[in-house]
């Protein structure tokens, strides 16, 4: 089928105004929040599962690559159409279909913005807990594809702990439900497998999410340190003490500087690191835990630790954390975020090794991360226009991921493998592991048309 015919067929399915083909439109769909770029042949904006199913069936018949896309805030190239083909943008499928309080669920389309859903359910006294920093723009579909984390995942678990059911469009266009409003449906945990599959097994067209009671009380603390080691030691000590706060976030000096330049969160610019520690739940016992945490901070040479007085102060503290990536983006033309994750006891060691890597390559590295989860986010800040910079950054990033893997950790905590870390999968997987994963991919997509080229490296051919 030639390109013009494909476009005509797609127009029949979703309507002419929902098929984008101009060079400018295609350029807009050629990148995400990672460093890679590739242009699709055509972009479609479907409005229903039926339309998605028809588009998929067409791609299946013609063996055309196809991938789903939300707001493309993903950081490892998951929505880059490396093999061209069709991009299915879910922006029109952005309806909250139902908030079912008696069953503690919300049913949504994949294009719903995470924060919009959270705001809606909060009005009823409920919470959808996963809160990626990009929640203001990220979509639920994208959160599912990448198994998004976020600060509150320390206590509440990641996206996969909150997905009860999914409507899937399979490779041949079949629409099926897996899971649902009831739990323990007999069968394999297909929803569990789909969450975090980086859109390589099929497309999600509806999701049933688990809601929880919004916590009665919240306490937020800011701890300021003169050295990064003291901050990291505090994190390890809090976990080892057996306290699981709702969040345990860390930012170092380069990040605080970037944040202050754009958000004005009131961080001390001469400090080496800060921790944002939040407790939530029933108010009983919270005071005692807050005191315990502040005591641990003091034992680890904190310069100052303070409680947010009110909701305004709390909001300001969080605005800084959540705006960090954006703030860095305003100061530096490019940045690369490594998502290596380590056992929490290894944080102090790995953090100092990361800084060594920065020195070795003469790169500015800022750290803003989910410390309580051991989920590092070293941000390597640079200028892509300077020759050889990107290659140097990729080398440094790979070295950082190796450090994490060698410390008993992994190459991605919440951003995925995507395109960016295909090579680094060898740090944590052996051939058997990858071969099994290829088998799973084959079970769902034997023709390799659904978001091809991601998550699993091509097998190395032996002559």
């Amino acid at each position: 089928m030639d390109k013009q015919e494909l476009i005509e067929r797609l127009k029949e399915i979703v309507g002419p105004e929902n098929v984008l083909t101009s060079a400018m439109d295609l350029a807009l769909y050629s990148y995400d929040a990672s460093l890679d770029k590739a242009t699709p042949e055509v972009v479609v904006l479907p409005n229903s599962s039926e339309e998605v199913s028809k588009v998929m069936a067409l791609a299946y018949k013609e063996k055309i690559p196809i991938l789903g896309r939300g707001s493309a805030t993903n950081l490892t190239g998951g929505t880059i159409p490396v093999k061209g083909g069709i991009v299915v943008h879910f922006s029109r499928m952005n309806r909250i279909l139902e908030i079912d309080i008696p069953n503690r669920t919300a049913t949504v389309e994949p294009g719903v913005i995470t924060l919009d859903l959270q705001t809606e359910v909060l009005k009823k006294g409920f919470a959808y807990q996963p809160d990626p920093a990009s929640q203001k723009v990220s979509t639920i579909g994208g959160n599912i594809a990448e198994n998004a984390g976020g600060p509150h995942c320390l206590k509440y678990g990641v996206t996969s702990n909150h997905i009860m059911g999914l409507e899937l469009v399979l490779n041949d266009g079949t629409v099926v439900w897996t899971g649902g409003k009831s739990r323990d449906n007999p069968g394999y945990d297909i929803a569990g497998l789909f969450v975090g599959c980086e859109g390589t097994l099929g497309l999600v067209t509806k999701a049933i999410l688990k809601l929880e009671r919004a916590p009665e009380a919240v306490k937020t603390m800011l701890a300021i340190y003169d050295t990064i080691e003291d901050g990291a030691n505090t994190v390890s000590a809090i976990i080892a003490e057996g306290i699981i706060p709702a969040t345990l976030e860390m930012m170092d000096n380069p990040i605080m500087r970037a944040v202050e330049a754009s958000v004005k969160a009131g961080y001390s610019l001469d400090a080496a690191a800060v921790l944002i520690i939040e407790l939530d739940g029933m108010p009983e016992g919270m005071e005692e835990n807050a005191n315990k945490i502040m005591e641990i901070c003091r034992q680890n040479n904190v310069r100052e630790v303070k409680l947010a007085k009110d909701e305004t102060e709390r909001t300001v503290l969080w605005a800084g954390r959540k705006g960090a990536f954006g703030a860095v983006g305003q100061l530096y033309p490019s940045f690369l975020c490594c998502d290596g994750t380590v056992p929490r006891t290894k944080l102090p060691q790995v953090l100092s090794q990361v800084l060594e890597v920065g020195k070795k390559y003469d790169l500015t590295i800022g750290n803003v991360f989910h410390a309580g989860d051991g989920n590092l986010h070293p941000l390597i800040m640079f200028d892509e226009r300077i020759p050889d910079q990107k290659a140097k950054v990729l080398k440094a990033s790979s070295e950082i991921l190796k450090l994490c893997a060698d410390a008993g950790g992994t190459i991605s905590g919440e951003h995925g493998v995507g395109l960016e870390k295909l090579k680094e999968t060898s740090f944590i997987f052996c051939d058997n592991d990858l071969e099994f994963a290829r088998g799973i991919k084959k079970a769902f997509d034997p023709d390799d048309i659904i978001n091809p080229g991601k998550l699993i490296p091509e097998p190395v051919c032996t002559p």
């Binding site: 079912d100 069953n103 006294g125 990448e146 198994n147 984390g149 320390l154 990641v158 702990n161 899937l168 099926v176 897996t178 409003k181 009831s182 323990d184 449906n185 007999p186 069968g187 394999y188 945990d189 297909i190 569990g192 497998l193 969450v195 975090g196 599959c197 980086e198 009671r213 919004a214 976990i239 057996g242 306290i243 699981i244 739940g281 029933m282 009983e284 016992g285 005692e288 994750t341 929490r344 006891t345 989860d373 051991g374 950790g409 992994t410 991605s412 905590g413 919440e414 995925g416 493998v417 944590i428 997987f429 058997n432 592991d433 994963a437 799973i440 079970a443 769902f444 998550l455 699993i456």
Partner: protein, 481 residues
């Protein structure tokens, strides 16, 4: 047909003569639904399991894995069976990293030993340690991490069950209300695929999106996708205070009222279990002299900080009084642990006492729990089927045990018919019905996994890809997978 002596010799080369059991006593004990395997194997590590599966592939031998045997009644009779692979010798805790709040264990490690290992120096633990019973030459892990954390899952048969079995069945109990299921706590897995290859996924970080979440795929796969050999879980600190509130009610609607009221608040109990008097009587809890012999009991587990437990206890007692509770008791710390241990041990006790025990687990939308409970209880009573029934309120799960003996007076036919009606009712409420215990002879009349789920075609694709020759637990799972 290959000579069975040759097969045995081949297996002996892998695990050693001593660990290939072919004597009638052992093979009979490890029979699956009265189908006797040629041999029962006791590999000592993942490598040996891998060699066994490679061998089984070459010889086209069908395998059913087994831990302590607490879940062998689950599932359809196998389509064929040659070998049972028993994980009991794979009982090492490979990495107890309590400072990181994770633990990695082999499949044959018992749940109780994990909890014992995590106990504090003075034996503060999530199970009542001094009450645990051992069989034969077993002993309970006496090495303490001194950490005071625990693995927050609440499976049936918590005295006996192995971690491999718990994960393979994704089993949970009443306290899943607060802690969820094994699938929510597993971080990594190493298993032997049906091809015999050793495959790993995940790790010991609490967040991980490096590759497909194979740990979740394996959790709840009932031994049909390979043999789970090693698992890593995340842990939680032991709750500061633990207490169970028990209330008895004369009517079902009063008991429901209490449960509903609790869920209208933002209190966070660990479990709200509503049961009939027969269920409570079978737990043999002595602390409650004023409980009537009929009626209903609501048990509320509270596991958190001391002040929060106090507040919840006060508020829930008040609610119970308003709802017309007749009896009221409180079990603290050790007796709390004993109570939930009794709940967890109920299945094997009933199975030993009633040769024709049929146990079903119904799932449905959580809002429909009263209708389901009421319908099931009435239908069973009308049919004069003596039963234990309890609902994990807030979870959408109801379990029913029919207390029957084999060779009875035709009540088995009635039981099969009623199970069909309950399945239909659960389906109408968006769920299903799984039979967890049934006499082998009755299984062919029952739909063990309820109705095939809407994604059955997907399950089939996965099974056929992972186990193309169908050697792993063939036919045991949903729709004969």
């Amino acid at each position: 047909m290959v000579d069975s002596k040759e097969i045995i010799d081949g297996l002996v080369k892998i695990v050693g003569r001593e660990f290939v059991k072919t004597n009638s006593e052992v093979v009979a004990e490890c029979a699956v639904d009265n189908i006797t395997p040629m041999a029962v194997l006791f590999p000592k590590n993942t490598q040996q399991v891998s060699e066994i599966l490679k061998f089984a592939n070459r010889e086209n031998l069908a395998i059913v894995p087994r831990g302590s045997g607490s879940k062998m009644s689950l599932g359809n009779p196998p389509k064929r069976l040659d070998l049972v692979v028993c994980t009991t010798r794979m009982n090492h805790m490979l990495d107890v990293d309590t400072a990181n709040l994770t633990i990695t264990v082999e499949a044959g490690v018992k749940f109780r030993d994990v909890q014992a290992r995590l106990a504090t120096e003075d034996d503060r633990c999530y199970l009542p340690l001094e009450d645990l019973v051992t069989e034969g030459d077993e002993f309970i892990c006496s090495d303490r991490s001194h950490s005071g954390c625990f693995l927050p899952i609440d499976p049936p048969c918590s005295e006996k069950a192995t971690m491999g079995g718990i994960v393979a069945a994704n089993s949970g109990g009443p306290r899943r209300l607060l802690y969820n299921l094994p699938r929510d706590h597993i971080l990594g897995v190493r298993f032997v695929a049906p091809s015999g290859e050793i495959v790993g996924a995940g790790g010991k970080t609490v967040k991980n999106v490096s590759g497909y979440d194979i740990s979740k795929l394996m959790t709840g796969s009932i031994g049909t996708l390979g043999i789970i050999c090693e698992m890593t879980f995340k842990l939680l600190p032991l709750p500061e205070q633990m207490e169970t509130l028990l209330f008895s009610f004369g009517t079902f609607s009063a008991a429901c009222d209490l449960a509903d009221r609790i869920f209208e608040t933002s209190l966070l109990p660990a479990a709200v279990e509503v049961m009939n008097a027969t269920a409570f009587a079978n737990l043999k809890i002595n602390a409650t002299p004023d409980f009537t012999s009929d009626g209903y009991v609501v048990a509320v587990a509270l596991e958190t900080f001391e002040d929060a437990v106090k507040r919840m206890a006060t508020e829930i007692r008040e609610m119970a009084r308003d709802c017309g509770a007749q009896g009221d008791a409180s079990l603290q710390n050790h007796s709390h642990l004993q109570y939930w241990m009794a709940v967890s041990s109920l299945d094997p006790i009933l199975a030993a006492r009633f040769s024709g025990l049929i146990k079903a687990k119904l799932n449905y939308r959580i809002s429909e729990w009263k209708d389901i409970f009421g319908f099931a209880h009435n239908t069973l009573s009308e049919n004069k089927l003596e039963h234990v029934i309890s609902a994990h309120a807030g979870c959408g799960i109801c379990t029913i045990s029919l207390l029957m003996n084999q060779g009875g007076n035709g009540s088995m036919d009635k039981a099969v018919e009623v199970m069909g009606q309950l399945l239909k009712r659960s389906r109408d409420a968006g769920g299903n019905l799984v039979i967890q215990y049934a006499p082998s002879a009755v299984k062919k009349h029952l739909s063990m996994w309820g109705e095939p789920p809407p994604d059955f075609a997907v399950l089939k694709r996965v099974k056929e890809q992972v186990d193309p020759s169908g050697i792993m637990s063939p036919g045991r799972f949903v729709g004969g997978l």
